[in-house]
Point group: D2
Chain length 353, copies 4
């Protein structure tokens, strides 16, 4: 059993890491930290885990984490991770970081998007931004991995094959990414914004412009395209807890046929268990819908072509806490440790739910 530590395990992503790691047959959680809840039973904070684990939270002490773990998951907020993770990385442990602090390879992007100068630009080169379905081999060889933002990975899985396939002729200046996101993506801290009576039933455009995940998406898409890509992203809070649907509107070359799009997706995702291509002719779920991935590590991807406007609508859905966060992180760990990437992640989605 590989010893695994989880830094900042009291948030929703931390809780999901614990839930999934507790079911993982090859690892054991040796330490889970929380500044606020140190000494408290994990199930007091994550009440779903009552009866499942007797683990208690430890203090956020990096040296203790390093002493107890071979692999460390860091679920700290951006700006915090960069203060703690470098010493763990320097000590030679394996790290999967879930914050934004090691996602952008260009240090110049940090002041722009996150408002700080990156103190350890050397680490930016060492961390692999991990979407296994896109760069599996890199992840396999990595010791330091950065796991994407939840809307970023969802959008990127729909868009990367399109940008990679030159013959589709994607217009790189008008890539519109319209995301619909469940409340759990906003974390567990109460506020008027998340007060049930104010939040129930909304379609709230909470980040119509300037969404930080655009930076990550552009980074991957530029790599795919070999040229820069401009991502126009907007995010909306909708009336659910788990799940993301990303609707990506892109403009394509005349004459592109559905089969061409299929080919682009298949050539990238054949053999990737966690990406399901969805495009049915009947039934209520003809295209991706976050309802159908709840609790699972799947990302469903589908599309529709609109000839009249020269538009390709790419759709992608994830459970934001699983493939959008903890699941992708564990899948990355599996690859880093030489396990089958599906290990511990094969729970099928719940339906109906």
């Amino acid at each position: 059993m590989v010893k695994v530590g989880v830094l900042a395990a009291s948030g929703y992503i931390g809780g999901e890491l614990l839930r999934l790691l507790l079911q993982h047959p090859e690892v054991e959680i040796t330490i889970a930290t929380s500044r606020k809840y140190a000494g408290e039973y994990v199930f007091r904070v994550h009440p779903n885990l009552r009866g499942v684990t007797e683990l208690k939270f430890s203090a956020n002490d990096a040296s203790k984490v390093m002493a107890d773990s071979e692999v460390v998951f860091a679920a700290l907020p951006h700006g915090e991770s960069v203060k703690i993770v470098p010493q763990i990385a320097d000590a030679g442990l394996k790290v999967v970081d879930l914050s934004a602090d090691f996602r952008l390879s260009d240090k110049g992007q940090y002041p722009t998007w996150y408002g700080y100068d990156h103190p350890r630009p050397d680490l930016l080169e060492k961390f692999v931004y991990s979407i296994p379905e896109i760069n599996r081999d890199q992840v396999k060889g990595a010791r330091l991995v950065s796991s994407p933002g939840c809307t970023a990975i969802t959008a990127t899985l729909a868009l990367a094959p399109l940008l990679k396939e030159k013959s589709l002729g994607i217009d790189r200046d008008h890539v519109v990414v319209d995301a619909k996101v469940g409340s759990s993506g906003a974390g567990g801290k109460p506020s008027l914004y998340t007060h049930f009576s104010e939040r129930f039933g909304v379609v709230r455009p909470y980040k119509p412009a300037g969404h930080r995940h655009a930076a990550e998406i552009e980074q991957v898409l530029a790599e795919m395209a070999g040229e820069s890509v401009k991502v126009s992203m907007s995010a909306h809070a909708v009336n659910m807890v788990r799940g993301i649907l990303v609707t990506s509107h892109v403009f394509i070359a005349a004459g592109v046929k559905p089969l061409d799009v299929w080919k682009a997706y298949r050539s990238m995702y054949t053999g990737s268990y966690f990406v399901r291509l969805v495009r049915d002719k009947q039934g209520p779920f003809r295209l991706p819908d976050p309802k159908l991935v709840v609790g699972s590590n799947f990302c469903d991807v589908g599309f529709e072509l609109e000839e009249r406007t020269g538009r390709l609508v790419a759709l992608s859905a994830t459970d934001n806490l699983v493939k959008g966060a903890a699941g992708n992180a564990i899948q990355s760990m599996n690859l880093m440790l030489g396990f089958d990437e599906k290990t511990g992640l094969t729970s099928a989605p719940l339906h109906p739910v």
Copy 2:
């Protein structure tokens, strides 16, 4: 009291017409028809109206409707309205049609979008497509009015001022309209698509391409711009019953400032009670959200600019059954009859709900 008839009053839009007309101080409902429920109490079909009215449904008999009414609202499905409404129109009554059958002024569009040849193209010229905030004067003088589709009016109210104001330099080839719609827009007929266990919690891209309302929107926007406009529209079913949020992504000239956008909106909507411009700096509702218009005839409009991508994100929200249908129809009737356009429509939105 003006005598008003409602054709096809058993659907959700019909029910909303009845609810609002029953509260209208200047009209009385003299007849409400339903093919299926003729002879049945209205409150058996619209149980919210129990205790509110003792009205019964009549058969869908045009001659009876004409005998009893001065104004007729027709809430028939498209393709059905065109079979019944012409005789009422020819007889000289005032008509507000809520179907698509008289919305498009170019008869050539009907085969393309609705799959039939229009039998009465002469009427297409006579019907005024009514969005009072855009063409109030035309509506005032009209006898025959066509009320827009729910997502169409919501999108158009956000986009029309932008296309009209040339200095904004809207790119007319890349107008993306991403709509999030409540279930009531799909009507009252049960199916697997609308089965609660299958429909709850979805973000379902039900019409990612080819949405018919694009035709109406393009018609109005072209009129505003004086040139053709291509609307790239996608619609999603979300986890609520009432309400629409439309996110319109458009690309603008370099150098456009928020104030320029404000001016475009203000110059069109000053004096229009039912359009509220929303752009707050704090609180959970800084931009339009359908939660805040439930039960009212308001359309909330707001926007955000993203300089980096040259994008203007316009947001608009309505209650799809009120401003998106029955409310706009009654507002139109008010104008046609010379009443204050707000008459009977001033119920404030519910909050929280």
Copy 3:
């Protein structure tokens, strides 16, 4: 126009009072107070009222309220109302208090249920506990009125006729009141309990025993029965914002027939517009459901008999912010001022919503 003041108008009940009073044809709101938001536009706190009113909050200053108003609504928390309302009552103004501070006529109940000694027991005799459908005549003559708690009025409207009708033989020791309540009843203050991700989808037994509204219900039922009644009450938070369903399980004499129960309800409620008796043989809404009263002042009441267990299940539904609070208060004011009790309260419920 009667001048009306609203004390503590920034909460959900305060907001609902403002919404309804703004639509009331016979009154004008002269002052609305808020300790926290004094000086702020009302629509910043109640964003549904944007465009509806330009009113600003005033400080919670009793003397100013008294100077400006003829009738005062007090929507203060219990324990706070009793500090401010007495001076307004002593000054001779008309008062409708929505807190618990003047609901119980026996001062000895306050330490038990609310944890304080009542400082003005003389006022307890002067305040009329108002459920117009039960004690309309008393309310008509009253200057000081106390409006019930939301679950209390909902339960009481279903139970009072049953206890009054002796021939039903209600077992007064086993009256079980099981309430299902929307989130708005818990007010507008964020906490972990009301954090959307934690609150969505719950059926949370938040007050399974010791619910304070039992005291009010017992008070009225004892009056109806002429003997003491023991109310066993439990309340649950469910996945909606507005609405209450109360399921009252009572045990009856052998041989009681549905018609007997009907008679008991009819003899109390004939002529009461706001109580609708609901017991249909078909359709999805055969019995009361809070979904069907949203936005209205209706209380729907229905029942089912179970011979095998000698049980009568009485069901009642309200919109907790309307008939459960602001609507009942305004209905009471209408009676106090000699208006028709329906004035300003006839908005039909929304459906579907």
Copy 4:
């Protein structure tokens, strides 16, 4: 690997059996039948299983099922199961029946509760009604097992220990069971009752009296008490898909203390992994809530005492499709086959969801 067949696998319970059995390490699904979907891929009907299984539905052919399976799960409607299951039972296979057709041991109950004369009363004696936490040893030795109704097992797990413990003095004539149930319990067939716009946001008393599960509950409780017990049951549809909360109101002897109740629960459930006793002093989840068991086989049980009314409120929550149906059935199979009862059922609940 044990060969397992699933009869009537296209419904929600059937789908949940498939989902869980596909993850079970000791069994393989050899056949899954559906009258309507024979020949169709399972994932077309249960779209969550896309990518998880390539299984297709077979016709509902008992002989084929018998040829292919060692254990048969029957998820047929009541009245249908009794036509097919007997021949499978007679052939010597192991059977877990999820219908009501073999739940009641007294054949005389079938005409009363289900409206038919039982054709095979001999089988009623052979089938073991299985709630492993109550009669584990019986289930271990059984070849034929009947799995309880979803509200029945949820209520019974809260009530059985109370009736068994004589010193609590439960009043057997006034046992009120008030259930709040998600939509999936009503199955997958669309109707106006389950149409999203009509079903969203309800608290609908769909079976206030005469609920058939009362018969099962009474059967077990009578066994516990050694005397007959009268169960007064009402069920309500609430705004969620998965989950049941049962609130049981019972009346107890004077002087009973919380510790006494604890003891009753502990003495029955110590060592039973799937029953979690929940009674916390803080946090949003102090008592059972269906939100906290979603996707899991847990039944959470808790209680509150109300001295004033001599009442004990027992609360229990399950995921109706798991512990309320498929999970309990598989747990029973585990015992029948000599596996650890938790095998394949240890997925932790999702939270938040």
